[in-house]
Symmetry: C2
Subunit: 160 residues, 2 copies
């Protein structure tokens, strides 16, 4: 397994991960019906650095890193991570998060913030806490979960 | 004074308010050096509804309203408000906020969230609290203020 920058030829492998996650609609505040092209445009937007976690030529995970705000807020970065369903439980999200923290430090960012961690995504919340993030905000009923109904979203943060 | 939708002919009046505020760099996490065209493109983006507060044909304030997230987060809206320096202290921000809350309700939004209220902007924090918002998050040192240095930013919220 290694993590490297996404390249133009990775779009099919990235789409195979992000589109099903977006369709499920339980973890990201994105239109579940968005097209594959729109999903890729979002995940690989010009203001993002996009990476993939690859094993034997197969993409098992992907993440992006970007400045969370412009101007006076540009020293704080933001990331999004998604792992292949088939590879869940292998620690790929943890590896990608560690990679992103290191990359963010190398870029000179001074903090990382997740703006919208769906509170029912307990696996993610626990992992981010284990990786050093703390909950700095709770957005009441900010996410309409397809089966759980309206649930809180969390803002999570760590200094770098 | 009345509040109405911004029209194409309002760009000069809107720019006269938002560009100096952006240049000052003390209240919005936007590039202080951004061009007037970019500032207008941001403030009047297609995903925003933009309004102006007008008196005797002069624009004294402007605000936008948009969905804060897509998908499962689209029932929460977000606004930004700016008032002409010359008209500060006349309650224009308060009027615009009241208008935006009413408009958000009419649009079916179920909450309003401000993602990044600079904590040193005490006038705004107090006004939003008086208008019913509570602080649901505190982003540590998230804003580099040009004179105060790194200061917290607040996430503020109210159900509609």
């Amino acid at each position: 397994m290694h993590i490297r920058r996404a390249e133009a030829g990775d779009t099919a492998g990235i789409a195979a991960i992000i589109v099903p996650t977006i369709r499920e609609g339980t973890t990201y505040a994105l239109d579940a019906a968005m097209s594959e092209a729109d999903a890729l445009a979002y995940w690989m937007a010009p203001d993002k650095e996009t990476f993939v976690a690859e094993e034997d030529g197969v993409i098992l995970g992907t993440y992006f890193l970007r400045a969370n705000q412009a101007g006076g807020g540009k020293h704080v970065c933001n990331c999004g991570y998604m792992t292949s369903r088939a590879a869940t439980g292998r620690g790929i999200a943890r590896l990608m998060c560690a990679h992103s923290l290191e990359h963010a430090r190398s870029r000179g960012y001074r903090a990382m913030q997740f703006n919208f961690v769906v509170s029912t995504n307990e696996r993610a919340v626990k992992l981010w806490q284990a990786m050093g993030f703390t909950i700095v905000g709770r957005l009441p009923l900010a996410f309409h979960h397809p089966t759980a109904g309206d649930v809180d979203a969390l803002v999570m943060h760590q200094p770098l």
